[in-house]
């Protein structure tokens, strides 16, 4: 892997390192404020089974094994930051035309369900 692919991987990756176990309402509202997002969709709880179905649209590119070959792994993310990333794509404040397109037609409940599903995948 070249320095450039690493740089891209890092740029695409969420701030997983910052993910804390603290998922209190106050903490999530603070995160929403940090990213300039509406807190309501971040507070929503997703449905794992629905997320499993919806995930088919993701797994053409993102490997469920968690492998990185040029497209970031999205399993086992903190759910709140998964939702943050998807809402940023949806609002086009995060770059990548493919992701902006995919996130653009996902509803809040669908994003929450994907977050819940991918968070619990074991590799």
């Amino acid at each position: 892997m070249t320095w450039r692919t690493w740089a891209i991987a890092l740029a695409c990756a969420p701030v997983v390192a910052l993910a804390a176990d603290d998922h209190s309402e106050a903490k999530i509202i603070e995160i929403a404020n940090d990213y300039g997002l509406d807190p309501a969709p971040l507070l929503m709880t997703g449905d794992v089974e629905y997320g499993a179905y919806l995930s088919g649209e993701c797994t053409t590119c993102h490997q469920t094994s968690g492998s990185y070959d040029g497209i970031p792994a999205i399993i086992q993310w903190d759910e709140v930051y998964f939702k943050v990333a998807m809402h940023e794509y949806k609002q086009k404040t995060r770059e990548n035309p493919v992701m902006q397109l995919i996130a653009g037609r996902l509803g809040d409940e669908e994003i929450a369900s994907l977050a819940a599903y991918f968070a619990q995948i074991e590799n």
């Binding site: 919806l54 490997q63 397109l101």
Partner: protein, 419 residues
Amino acid sequence: MTLDRRTFLGTAAAASAALSAPMVRAQGTPRVVVVGGGAGGATAARYIAKDSKGAIDVTLIEPTRTYYTCFFSNLYLGGFKEMNQLGHSYGALAAGGVNVVHDWAVGVDRDAKTVALAGGGSVPYDKLILSPGIDFVDGAVAGWDMSAQNKMPHAYKAGSQTELLKAQLQAMPEGGTFALVAPPNPYRCPPGPYERVSMVAHFLKQNNPTAKILVADPKPKFSKMALFQEGWGTHYDGMIDWVGEDFGGGNVEVDPNAMTVSIDGEVTKVDVCNVIPAMKAGRIAELAGVTDGNWAPVNAADMSSKADGDIHVLGDASQQGDMPKSGFSANSQAKVCANAVRGALTGSKVFPAKFSNTCWSLISTNDGVKVGATYEATPEKIAKVDGFISATGETAEVREATYIESEGWYSGITADMLG
């Protein structure tokens, strides 16, 4: 109209359970047969086996033991990939519960609901999924038929044909001419012929820089045209002569013995001639009686054939509406189909269909471009919702990121198809 998801799910699940329950009781474990182990068929087989957890018997009929991806095979021509990097086995699919039968499906008895095999015998099904890819239309290019494919390869089904074309490219005399006859719409992988021109140009620039490329095209325009033409000017200036419909690019005749190409009456002696003829659904779709013209019309909601509700047709062979014929599209359609087939056979939840596609193409080293869209099922067809395309004049960093992304997608889709 907007549907509340829970209401929709409840209704759909109840309806499919009511319909499928008697069949399940009457026949024991329901059987799904999939014909064709490419991006559509392998994905459908894997998802049905994985998600039904043994409640459905899944058989995949695929003649080849090693699957060579058509996507990225142009990169082999350009020298960016080795052939063995494009080959994949069906071992993981078999380990995942799919009964993989290496044989040709040679007939479908829709009344008896059986698929006949070339090796003898037949396989019964409750639901049949056909994903046979493409075959070529007889007489599509004057002077060319399948018996000419060694002298003038199509290389549009990956494997030995791709290796043959590469060998011919490598053997070209200095300053020679490589001709490509492009197909009319619709065909597999819309940017494919033009990515191929780019990869051939890349190879020649490195190895035979005075060689020329002549493209005869029956179309007035093509996928990612502005992006390819910009790239050809930047990387391969003066090497590529594209003759479109306006200049007689559709009036083509080839002579495989004399190695000549005639475009609108002007005859050119060439050294390599890559003929990509007009396409149609793979033969088994026609044998099953589900084609209308060259393709198999399907219902967008579940990819079921308009001729037979127990047969589904995926990928290139299907006539579904707005999606391009691509591996990505076939993979996307397969998941919608798998969900619907499971619902019909076991009463599992059936979710609304959603489709998406992205096609990446490589123009030169680290110069990747992409086009993509999302789609939905309407009563008439799969309809485009929204899309994007790379812009001309993008920075080298963006183009390199796009190429790296395409490599990630390659790993992703092959894992998603084959496990």
